[in-house]
C-alpha cells in the first residue's frame, strides 16, 4: 500500500512536469496552429541555462530565475526571427522547419557546452526526505516539484481566465482571424504566447535537471510524451492538458511499477521482465491510441475548431 502511494506520488510528479511542457505546446498549437518540435529544445536549454547560472551564482534559486528569464527571451527571439514565418505554412512545413530547429539547437548546445552532460546539484536542505505517511519517506525535492508546478498551474488558470492577456489568448484559440480583425496586435500576442510557452518548457527542464543529467537530446523523448498529453487532452485545451498530464504521468509510473510484477504472476522471469519493460514504456501510447479511437479529437476538444 505504501509502495502504491509512493508510485502514485511519482506519477503525479511526472504528470505535473509534463503539464508544464504540454501547457505551452497546447497554447502554441491552439493559438498559432503550429506543430512545434523545437519545444523540447527549450526544455533542454532551460536545464543547461540553470546548470550554468547556478554554477556562476553559486545559488540554485538565482540560477533557476536567470534560466527562466533566459529561456523566455530565447523563445521570444526565436519566434520573431524564425517561427513567425512558419504560421501561414501547412503542418508539414511546421514539422520540417521545427525539426531543423531541433537539430540546430542540439548542435548549438554541443558547441557551447560540449558533448558531455552537466549536473545541477540541489541545495543541501532539498536533499532530505519527508515522512509523508507513517513509514513512507519521500524526497522533499519531488514534493517541491509537485507544489511549485501546481502553483504554476493555478497561476496559469488566473492568467488565462482573469487577465486581459488571458482573454486575448482564449479568444485567439477559438478564432484567430476574428481577434485580428478586431484590432488586437496579433503579432505581439503570438510572440508573448511563444515566450510564455518557452518559459514553461524551460521551467520544466530546470526543475527536472537535478533529478536527471543535463544532456543533449534530453528534450526529445519528453517532447513526444508532451505531444501525447496534448493530443489526449484535445489540442488547444489547457484543462485537457492538465487532466491528460496526470493521466499520462500515472499511466507511465504505474505501468513501470506494476506491469512487470503483474506479468510475472503468470509468465516466466525472463519473459515477464523483457515484455514488462516493453509494455510499460508503451503504456502512454496505448492510452493515447485508446483515447483517440474512442474520441478522435481528444478528451476536451477546443471549442470552435
Amino acid at each position: 500500500m505504501l509502495y502504491f502511494f509512493e508510485q502514485f506520488l511519482n506519477g503525479i510528479q511526472l504528470g505535473m512536469l509534463l503539464f508544464l511542457l504540454a501547457a505551452g505546446l497546447t497554447l502554441i498549437f491552439g493559438i498559432m496552429d503550429l506543430v512545434n518540435l523545437a519545444h523540447g529544445s527549450l526544455y533542454m536549454l532551460g536545464a543547461y541555462f540553470a546548470a550554468t547560472f547556478a554554477d556562476w551564482t553559486d545559488s540554485f534559486l538565482l540560477g533557476a530565475l536567470f534560466a527562466l528569464a533566459a529561456t523566455a527571451v530565447t523563445g521570444m527571439l526565436l519566434e520573431v526571427i524564425a517561427v513567425r514565418r512558419l504560421y501561414d505554412r501547412g503542418h508539414l512545413n511546421h514539422v520540417l522547419g521545427t525539426f531543423g530547429l531541433l537539430l540546430f539547437f542540439n548542435e548549438v548546445v554541443r558547441l557551447i557546452w560540449g558533448p558531455a552532460g552537466m549536473t545541477l546539484s540541489l541545495p543541501s536542505e532539498m536533499l532530505n526526505a519527508v515522512e509523508v505517511l507513517p513509514g513512507l519517506f519521500y524526497p522533499l525535492y519531488r514534493l517541491v516539484i509537485i507544489g511549485v508546478t501546481l502553483a504554476v498551474a493555478v497561476l496559469m488558470y488566473f492568467l488565462i481566465m482573469r487577465t486581459r492577456l488571458g482573454m486575448l489568448i482564449r479568444a485567439g484559440a477559438s478564432n484567430r482571424e476574428m481577434i485580428g480583425a478586431l484590432g488586437v496586435n496579433i503579432k505581439l500576442l503570438y510572440t508573448m504566447v511563444f515566450g510564455l510557452g518557452a518559459a514553461l518548457a524551460g521551467f520544466a527542464g530546470l526543475m527536472q535537471a537535478p533529478i536527471l543529467t543535463v544532456q543533449i537530446g534530453m528534450g526529445e523523448n519528453i517532447l513526444i510524451a508532451a505531444f501525447v498529453v496534448v493530443t489526449i487532452g484535445g489540442i488547444g485545451s489547457i484543462r485537457g492538458a492538465f487532466v491528460a498530464s496526470l493521466l499520462v504521468g500515472l499511466a507511465d509510473t504505474v505501468g513501470r511499477a506494476f506491469v512487470p510484477d503483474l506479468l510475472h504472476s503468470f509468465l516466466s522471469e525472463s519473459a515477464s521482465s523483457s515484455l514488462g519493460r516493453a509494455l510499460s514504456s508503451m503504456m502512454i501510447y496505448l492510452v493515447m491510441a485508446l483515447v483517440l479511437i474512442a474520441r478522435p479529437e481528444g478528451l476536451f476538444p477546443a471549442a470552435g475548431k
Partner: protein, 328 residues
C-alpha cells in the same frame, strides 16, 4: 537555372520535349546507374555504400510520398516500417532461416499487416491527431524492439549473413546488391506512377483535396485510404529488409522518431506530389549530411537552418523549384 516564375504559371522553356524537370530526373537516374562504375574505377568503395543507402531510403521516402504527398495522410511513424522489415530479416537470420525467399516476403507481409492495423485505427482521426497517432504507434514498435532481449534489445543485433537467394543472386557482392536495390527503386517508382495515375490514385488524391465531396459522390474513401496506407507500408517494409542487408545490423535506433522525421524531410525537400521528388530529396539530404559532416564537426548548424529555410520559402521543394510551378 529556371527563371523566376509567379505561381501557378509554368515557365515554358525546354529543349525539345525535355523540360528542366525531366532533364533533372534523367540526370539523377543516369548518375545512380553509373555509381558502381565510378566506384570501381576510382576504388572509392565508400561512394557505393553511401549511394546504396540513398537508393534504399529513396524507396522508403517514395512510399511515404504515396500516402503523405498524394494521399494527404501525414504519417509521422514511417520509420516503424523500416524497422519491421529490418527486424523480420534479422530475427529470421538469427533463428537460422537465411533464405531471402522466406525473409523478404515475411518482411513485406509483416509491414503490411502492421500498416493495416495502424491504418484502420488511425484513419479515424484527421490532421494533427493523425500525425500524433501514427507517431504513437511507431513509438510502441520502437519500445517492443527495445524489449526484445533475445534479439539484442537496446544494443541491436548483428546479421552475419545477408539474405540468400539459392545462388540466383549473391547479395554479399556489393555491386550486385547495389544494382538490386537500384532495380527495386525503379520498380517502385514505376509502381507509384501507375498507382497515382490509376482510378484508385485519383480517388486517393480526390480524398486529399476534399474528402467529404468524394464520399458524397459515392467513394468509400476510408477503404481506399486504408489500401493505400497498406501498399505504402509494404513498400517501406521492403526498404527495411534492404537496409538490414545493407548495414548487416538492426537496432531500435532505426525506428527512433527522428528517423521518421528524416523521411518526412526527404519527401518535403524533394517535392511532394512529384513522382521523383522523394528520390531527389533522399539524394540531396543524405549527400548534404555527408558533405557537411566532412567540412565541419557541427554540420547540423547548417543543416538545421537550411531545413527551416526550405520550410519557410520553398513550397514544392526542389521539384517545385525546377519545374517552376508552386504546389500547395
Amino acid at each position: 537555372m529556371s527563371p523566376p516564375a509567379k505561381p501557378p504559371v509554368k515557365t515554358g522553356w525546354s529543349i525539345g520535349i525535355v523540360t528542366p524537370r525531366i532533364g533533372l530526373n534523367i540526370a539523377v537516374i543516369a548518375t545512380l546507374a553509373v555509381v558502381p562504375v565510378y566506384a570501381a574505377l576510382t576504388g572509392n568503395a565508400f561512394a557505393l555504400t553511401l549511394f546504396t543507402r540513398v537508393v534504399i531510403l529513396a524507396i522508403a521516402a517514395l512510399s511515404l510520398n504515396l500516402i503523405m504527398g498524394f494521399g494527404g495522410m501525414v504519417s509521422f511513424g514511417h520509420a516503424a516500417y523500416l524497422g519491421i522489415g529490418g527486424y523480420a530479416v534479422g530475427i529470421l537470420a538469427k533463428e537460422g532461416i537465411g533464405s531471402g525467399f522466406v525473409q523478404w516476403p515475411i518482411a513485406i507481409g509483416a509491414a503490411a499487416l502492421y500498416a493495416l492495423v495502424v491504418g484502420a485505427l488511425s484513419l479515424r482521426t484527421r490532421g494533427v491527431y493523425f500525425i500524433m497517432i501514427t507517431l504513437a504507434f511507431a513509438q510502441m514498435i520502437y519500445y517492443v524492439a527495445i524489449g526484445l532481449d533475445r534479439y539484442g534489445g537496446d544494443d541491436g543485433l548483428t546479421i552475419y549473413r545477408r539474405s540468400g537467394f539459392d545462388g540466383l543472386i549473391d547479395l554479399s557482392n556489393r555491386t550486385v546488391f547495389y544494382y538490386l536495390c537500384f532495380g527495386l527503386l525503379l520498380v517502385s517508382i514505376y509502381l507509384v506512377w501507375r498507382i497515382v495515375n490509376s482510378r484508385f490514385g485519383m480517388v486517393i488524391q480526390g480524398a486529399r483535396s476534399n474528402e467529404r465531396r468524394m464520399r458524397a459522390i459515392g467513394f468509400p474513401t476510408f477503404r481506399y485510404q486504408l489500401v493505400c496506407f497498406v501498399i505504402a507500408g509494404a513498400m517501406c517494409g521492403l526498404a527495411g529488409a534492404l537496409l538490414a542487408n545493407h548495414t548487416n545490423f538492426i537496432s531500435p535506433a532505426m525506428m527512433h522518431w527522428t528517423r521518421s522525421g528524416d523521411l518526412i524531410v526527404m519527401v518535403v525537400l524533394g517535392g511532394m506530389q512529384a513522382i521523383f521528388g522523394p528520390l531527389i530529396g533522399a539524394l540531396t539530404f543524405l549527400l548534404l549530411e555527408e558533405g557537411l559532416s566532412r567540412v565541419t564537426d557541427y554540420s547540423n548548424l547548417i543543416l538545421g537552418p537550411f531545413l527551416l529555410l526550405v520550410a519557410i520559402s520553398w513550397q514544392g521543394g526542389i521539384d517545385g523549384l525546377i519545374a517552376g510551378t508552386r504546389r500547395g
